[in-house]
Amino acid sequence: MRRNSRLIKIFLSIALFLLLEGISVILITNNSIIQKYRIMGFTRSVQSFFWKQGESVRYFLNYKKENRLLEAENRLLKERISILKKYLEDVSAEEAIAHASGTGDYTFIPATIIKNSINKQHNYIILNVGSNNGVEEGMGVITSWGIVGIVDAVSPRFSYVSSFLNTSQSVSAKIVSNDVFGPMVWTGVGNRAVVREIPIHTEVCIGDTISTSGYSAIFPPDIPLGIVTSVDEVNGVALELGVEMFQNFRALRLVDVVINNYGKEINMIENEME
């Protein structure tokens, strides 16, 4: 009995010590910018460690699902290779060499998600790549099943991505069958999005595929985003398309950060014009 009360006393003393020190640290972080960033940086590095461990466990538990996704992606790539092979048979050797020697418009940095929030109105993702790997603010993040988000902040080893599951974020999307485009935004619920400002005369069918339009320096064109599930008229002047996204944000793990090789040039010319 006496031993128990002694243990409770020790426990309460430790709790009081942590409480008082915690209050002091909060006061310091709120009253000094330098201390704030330093303490937040330390906290984030500890958090990142735990997120990484948690992610490893989650990855292990999702092995089957992950394999199925990779199989499907593999199948898709094989299909694309066969289409390219057919195309290469039709073009001359000189043309093929000229195509092969040029660099593409986009290059990709493979990354793993170590933290992914999906149940807020403004969700975010933390990637295990940062400025050391060539990631910069404003770069797009994609998978083969759609877009994931845009890099918002970068540290040497990690990147903070503003997820597409963000009611304030939009991406330029087009209807694959007729190339008509409009901004696509997340509805705030599940995997559903809407494509807005589609001209009223556009022919759209339920089941049509929506992909990225490529009218931005962030995302490459023709990344499949989802299929049309509903078509609604808005004020008699435009159509609003309900879209079920292909990308399952709950099962996200491996992504690619998109580097637009001409992005800086495009931005420069845009800035000059402004």
Binding site: L12, S13, L16, F17, L20, E21, I23, S24, V25, I26, L27, I28, N30, N31, S32, I34, Q35, R38, G41, F42
Partner: protein, 172 residues
Amino acid sequence: MRWSKNISILVLIAVMIIIQIIICDYIYTGPYIHLTLLPLIILSISAEHSYPRLALISFAVGFLIDLVSDGILGLNSAAAVMTATFVRPISYITINRERSDKLERPTLSDVGFFRYFRYSTYLTLIFLITYILLDCAGFRPASFILMRIALSYVANIIMILFVSVTLLNKRY
């Protein structure tokens, strides 16, 4: 008798707090020296108090100094709570356990110069290390931090011993 004794201790602590505020606000000792009376104030609080009470009093005094002096809120309170946590263990190490349990608070005349010197040295170092690390770590080089701890320690221990000899050594 006990009442008047308590009041004189409170007055003394209040005077030390005022001196500390003056030191913080008006005395510029350069970037390497941080002068503080807080460890001494914590030493002056009766060792008869339980840890929770001692920690709360230390936090309150540190917070008060933070509040009225022109510094970062929370720095003194964090270092004061850390120091208060080690008051009893260090008194057991430097003065012996039985003797320190009997003493209301260790003074120079009670425990002798060397024991008191060791006792106040450890507590001052705990205070300074906590304070200076929270203040500088991460954006100042390690050599600067070590130099600041060393110079501040020398300045503070001289001041603490001086005040202990002149003000605290008498039985109030």
